[in-house]
Symmetry: C2
Subunit: 344 residues, 2 copies
Amino acid sequence: MLAQNASAWAAAIGAAEREALKGHRGANPLVGAVILAPGGEVVASGFHRGAGHPHAEVEAISALGPTWRERAGELTLVVTLEPCRLTGRTGPCVRAVLEAGLGAVVYAAADPTPNGGGGAELARAGVSVRGGVDPASAGRLNPRWSRAKAAGRPFVTAHLAQSLDAKVADAAGRGRWISGPEAREHSHAVRARVGTIVVGTGTVLADDPALTVRLGEEPERAVPVVIAGASELPATLGLARRAAAGADVVRVRDHDPHVVLAACGSNHVLLEGGPTLLAAFIEADLVDELFLYQAPLFLGPGVDSTAALSPRPVGAPWRWAHDPAGDEPDRLGRDLLLHLSPAA
Amino acid sequence: MLAQNASAWAAAIGAAEREALKGHRGANPLVGAVILAPGGEVVASGFHRGAGHPHAEVEAISALGPTWRERAGELTLVVTLEPCRLTGRTGPCVRAVLEAGLGAVVYAAADPTPNGGGGAELARAGVSVRGGVDPASAGRLNPRWSRAKAAGRPFVTAHLAQSLDAKVADAAGRGRWISGPEAREHSHAVRARVGTIVVGTGTVLADDPALTVRLGEEPERAVPVVIAGASELPATLGLARRAAAGADVVRVRDHDPHVVLAACGSNHVLLEGGPTLLAAFIEADLVDELFLYQAPLFLGPGVDSTAALSPRPVGAPWRWAHDPAGDEPDRLGRDLLLHLSPAA
């Protein structure tokens, strides 16, 4: 088992954090894990690849060679976040640790969500556990995720397709299609990751969007929607029909982001637009990540992508940053995908 | 020597074009060359890396191994553009071919500029020459360059630093500094490649720019400037002082791009801005490439980067394209560099 001294843990947690940074940034927190031999050397590692993929602990355990599996009781799992104890899509990490027979678990930060408590569960089962040895790790790896959790609000993803002159629609209000099919496919993959979609009444009136998820061969799927804004919506619109038919479309007659988020019954919200709502969320510092589809075209006068944003001086703008470790700016067909987060 | 049949040439020109595409896109045309053994296999290749670098022919000849140098008379140089005959910064390619003793030269497209005529010169010197076997190659590789040459006008590069909401300045008109130091350094490297800088009177009044080239340890260098626009400029401004002191700053009291370009005494012009001039050049289809420095920030209401552009419907916008083979979208410090050209 790992000699229990702080500098050895710090080095191992550093290694686990480097693993974590290989993962997909965004609503799913980055988590990394390493498994240490009694002498302290890393014998396996893993990271969380995103929603629907195994957790870092499971990945690391899967990577163990047969010799070390036999000697699992001598090994220490070092992970950036407390192992989960609930059975989600991927099974609880607590069970994976116990089934593998690992002797010890060290984790940097406790899990503040209902998934927390895995450390205590492992200790009760006889595993040697040292938890919360570096609580700041969560903030380093997942600052926006940590902040959202601490505030008791959903993580907010926004996406936006705009021209080079930052228009989401032309002078006649038409925005379909500024971006190409590859960008639209990516936007469906983003929708597939969230629990709730938020859209403003202006966008509903202008585009009559379905806001469903259409991915490859999978059947089209509806995602719960919150419509924000005061405008009346004709009953003929698709979302108005969905609202009348069932409970998965909710109206909030307000643009206040806090009010809107309170109406979202999930921990991950996608802001579809339009410009008024996006500006309100940016000003409230309530956009955690932004996928910006930049189409290589100019439209001239039209609808600005963040029309309602209040002015900032050039020395103190609304500062954002390209995701330093996650999705690189990438071509999506003719368009460019930018993955941005508010700068710290 | 290469068996003189069309399909062998087509394959060799394809290989030379693939070489060419490794080069730096922009004002310097992409040119590539391969050298073929008597059996048709490629024994050396080269491409033009940009201004100040050796031409593709010279690169390919330099890459020849000693055995093939001895047998140069049996080799065929296949190049996408007619070898040049003038002594520029890099020496004429005609001389390099003759000094190497190559037996044959095949080129895809004749050079329509004063550098042309190299093919005839080689033939007079006893080289077996087949020229113009694929004139369309120039258009495939360098469509904008070919078009500018054909129109007898300079190649026009524009650069632009803007926010995510496409502002070049805040509501108070301040644009310094939207982009970071790495982007500004790149913009100096772009200035270093051109013969003339064009700037509007609005930008001169707002920023009092020096428009010099400052690159690393090199001494600061002035580039000839054309100031376009009707506004009077106070004699205290830097460019007004340069205009009074010498002949390298010219005033054109007009925004018409054709009038402005006619006043530029070089074959490569850099459009520095501002928005009025940029929009006029875009509308006239007289921007051949655009370096866009995209800073990850929002400014809210301010100065639009292409404010004077006339409206286009979303189905028929001013279409551009990310350079398909040249500079990839790339991080420059915190900013992103986009290299764009008008779509065909």
